[in-house]
């Protein structure tokens, strides 16, 4: 006999619901933190290989303890707050960057439902902390909040290089958020939902509903390659990765907005950068690559796709030089934004016709 799983709700089983929720949050948070730590290791190893060197080798076997050693070192460093800085904003800024980066993880579906038996009842638990019906908007909003941290860091440091970094990031984020936001409008149009779970579910069908090509899933990367390209380029700009790492362009602005930061506060910026990288990879996976769908078990597919994305970002960093400020603006406003708009119009026409 097959039991229909029941969905946990707060009103019917409050204790079980709360418990499961806390476990989910803890798991998602710890896993993300672990990936953040080892993303730095993976980046150093991968780029090292690409650049004919070894990367970390000395700390632990094959340098595997390097992220932990780095973390410990930064944790025990003296925490300097410059005398001329605005101390409250200075302390607040790194938190304001890190928090949104982690919060976005809350709405991302990692896999299908997890079933478990409790008290004779079969419950279904979605592998997602919460399925907001405006999930995608929430992520865009959180990405927008992250900018405040950078701007605040730039202003509060009271340093000219930090200020320039802050100004650059403001302009960059505003320009690219528009392009990114518009590029994913087509996803809402196709899936007719903003819930990330719904978007993933829509991508599990065969491509364009055609049975003849049923081996190709209906991932939006196949029907919206332009939107995918715009999204990836735009998100690289939003998370300050090379070639768009202007706000912290080391060779120009020393360290940009985090020039004056030290110790754990600096580590928070660093963690935020990698957490953002994970978030962006996860969102791209969810929107364009069919989320957890694929040949393996749910969340394994998801993680593989996320790692593939992160590898791509790392690879780009090893390959490309940095754009200039005016070229970045040109690319954002005069190329990506019109392309995204054209894409929306074309998709609209296509939906109307078919």
């Amino acid at each position: 006999m097959v039991m229909t799983p029941e969905v946990l709700t707060l009103s019917e089983t409050p204790w079980l619901f709360t418990g499961v929720m806390l476990v989910k949050i803890a798991v998602a948070f710890v896993v993300t933190l672990l990936i953040v730590a080892y993303a730095t290791y993976a980046e150093r190893k991968t780029i090292g290989r690409m650049q004919t060197r070894m990367g970390p080798t000395m700390t632990g076997p094959k340098g595997l303890l390097q992220p932990i050693a780095d973390g410990l070192k930064l944790f025990f460093k003296e925490d300097i707050i410059p005398a001329q800085s605005h101390w409250a904003a200075f302390i607040l800024a790194p938190m304001m960057i890190l928090a949104p980066a982690f919060i976005s993880i809350a709405v991302i579906p990692f896999g299908g439902d997890l079933h478990f038996n409790y008290d004779g009842v079969l419950y279904a638990v979605p592998m997602q902390i919460t399925d907001l019906n405006i999930g995608l908007l929430f992520i865009i909003a959180m990405a927008g909040l992250g900018v405040y941290g950078i701007v605040l860091a730039g202003l509060a440091s009271n340093s000219k290089y930090a200020l320039l970094g802050g100004i650059r990031s403001t302009a960059q984020m505003i320009s690219y958020e528009l392009a990114v936001g518009l590029s994913i409008v087509v996803i809402f149009m196709l899936s007719e939902t903003l819930s990330l779970r719904g978007i993933v579910a829509a991508q599990q069908l065969p491509l364009w509903g055609l049975e003849s090509v049923s081996y190709i899933p209906n991932w939006y990367i196949f029907c919206q390659p332009l939107a995918f390209g715009l999204f990836v380029i735009g998100s690289m700009a939003e998370i300050n990765r090379t070639p768009f790492d202007l706000p912290e362009a080391e060779t120009e602005l020393v360290s940009g907005f985090c020039t004056e930061y030290s110790a754990m506060k600096y580590a928070l910026f660093f963690m935020a950068e990698y957490a953002n990288m994970i978030t962006v990879s996860a969102v791209a996976t969810t929107l364009f690559l069919g989320g957890w769908g694929g040949p393996f078990y749910g969340w394994i597919n998801f993680l593989l796709k996320v790692f593939a994305f992160m590898f791509f970002f790392i690879w780009i960093r090893a390959t490309f030089p940095r754009l200039r400020y005016d070229q970045l603006m040109f690319l954002g406003w005069k190329i990506m934004l019109p392309l995204a708009l054209v894409n929306i119009v074309l998709t609209g026409i296509a939906i109307l016709l078919w």
Partner: protein, 393 residues
């Protein structure tokens, strides 16, 4: 409401990741646009010119290593050629010495250009090129180490010859390395030349016209990228450069991209020169037959009273020159490196004036960056290929 705007003065350097040492630039910024750029130099001043006035001619050679420390053998070469000219023994330098000097000078050009490309690319954000270049530079430092015992401050050339002959088997090592070099240059070009971002960052950036370049006195690749066909190796040959068949790359673009291309082509030409020199290298003496100037062999010092006296005189008081003044310029990797020596007949130069190419080329910086963006300043500092050891002396 009229906006109240003012420019921001920013202090770039001497502690800054990409001012190539201790250059300080006072930049006046209007937003990201550079209104005024003023280079401040002198943080690395060691008084090499003054120090040389209290040293015998031989004792100054190690100081020249520390001028352009990325191209020590070029400095050695310029200096010893100047002293030889002052002594009038230029024609007595053995052929083997001249060949080895050319090989070393061209290896030095490769070495210097590799560091330039590495840092230039890193400044613009292409990190991988940096490590690729340093991989090849490592081979050159190894060769340096084998001939002179030092990886950077070579102190290898002597007035009248060389400190030591090449160690056994080194010719083969040099040939292997140099033959592999063109493929590596292709590799760097593969990462950069066709790269759209690299082109955007370099084409039309830091332009300087041929007239302006000549007015300032810019030399070297920076001049040749502005369309002026001038190379001392060909136009005023020294050390037997007239025996080699090589091209002088010239381009008309006047910008950072063309300076990049010119330097890469120069690296290819350097490999040609080295291979020709290796082919022409024959066994022979490595010191000129000038007993008043050149230290005798140790064997002679212990067996021969004449040699003992020469050895004693040269070591204790150095050799004396006729009074006079000469100028000798060489085509160093960064441009024309000149040594102007005034001798008063003693064992010390009365005055030594160095014409460092970086110092002169740096003067082009303000007009190349003013009105441009902050990021272009970085690109221009990179493309000028300055070394502060040479600018401050």
């Amino acid at each position: 409401m009229a906006a109240n705007t003012e420019t921001m003065t920013i202090n770039m350097g001497p502690q800054h990741p990409s001012t190539h040492g201790v250059l300080q630039l006072i930049l006046e910024l209007d937003g990201e646009i550079v209104v005024k750029a003023t280079p401040h130099i002198g943080f690395l001043h060691r008084g090499i010119e003054k120090l040389s006035e209290h040293r015998t001619y031989h004792q100054t050679i190690p100081l020249t290593d520390r001028l352009d420390y990325l191209a020590p053998m070029s400095n050695n070469l310029g200096y010893v050629l100047a002293v030889e000219k002052l002594l009038g023994i230029t024609d007595e330098i053995p052929e083997r010495v001249q060949r080895i000097r050319v090989i070393m000078a061209e290896l030095t050009r490769l070495k210097s250009h590799l560091v330039w490309l590495a840092c230039h690319a890193l400044d613009i954000g292409a990190m991988t090129v940096f490590l690729y270049c340093f991989r090849e530079r490592e081979c050159i430092t190894d060769i340096y180490e084998k001939v002179s015992g030092a990886r950077m401050t070579s102190n290898y050339f002597r007035v009248g010859g060389l400190a030591e002959d090449l160690p056994d088997g080194l010719e083969g090592d040099i040939r292997d390395f140099v033959e592999s070099m063109p493929a590596h240059i292709e590799e760097y070009e593969g990462l950069l030349t066709g790269n759209k971002i690299w082109q955007k960052r370099t084409i039309g950036v830091g332009e300087i016209s041929a007239e302006a370049a000549i007015d300032i006195g810019i030399t070297g690749p920076a001049l040749r990228a502005s369309g002026v066909d001038w190379d001392l190796r060909r136009d005023n040959p020294y050390s037997g450069y007239e025996d080699y068949d090589f091209d002088v790359p010239v381009r008309e673009g006047c910008d950072t991209f063309d300076r990049y291309k010119v330097r890469l082509d120069e690296m290819r030409q350097s490999t040609r020169i080295i291979l020709q020199a290796l082919d022409k290298l024959k066994p022979g003496p490595i010191l000129a037959d000038c007993p008043k100037v050149v230290l005798p062999a140790k064997q002679d010092v212990v067996n021969n009273i004449e040699s003992l006296i020469h050895h004693f005189k040269i070591v204790t008081e150095g050799f004396k020159t006729e009074p006079g003044e000469i100028y000798q310029g060489v085509e160093a990797p960064k441009g024309e490196l000149g040594f102007y020596l005034v001798a008063d007949g003693s064992a010390y130069p009365f005055r030594m004036k160095i014409r460092p190419p970086s110092f002169v080329n740096l003067q082009g910086l303000p007009q190349m960056v003013e009105g441009k963006l902050l990021a272009d300043v970085i690109a221009v500092i990179g493309t000028l290929d300055i070394v502060l050891g040479e600018i401050d002396r």
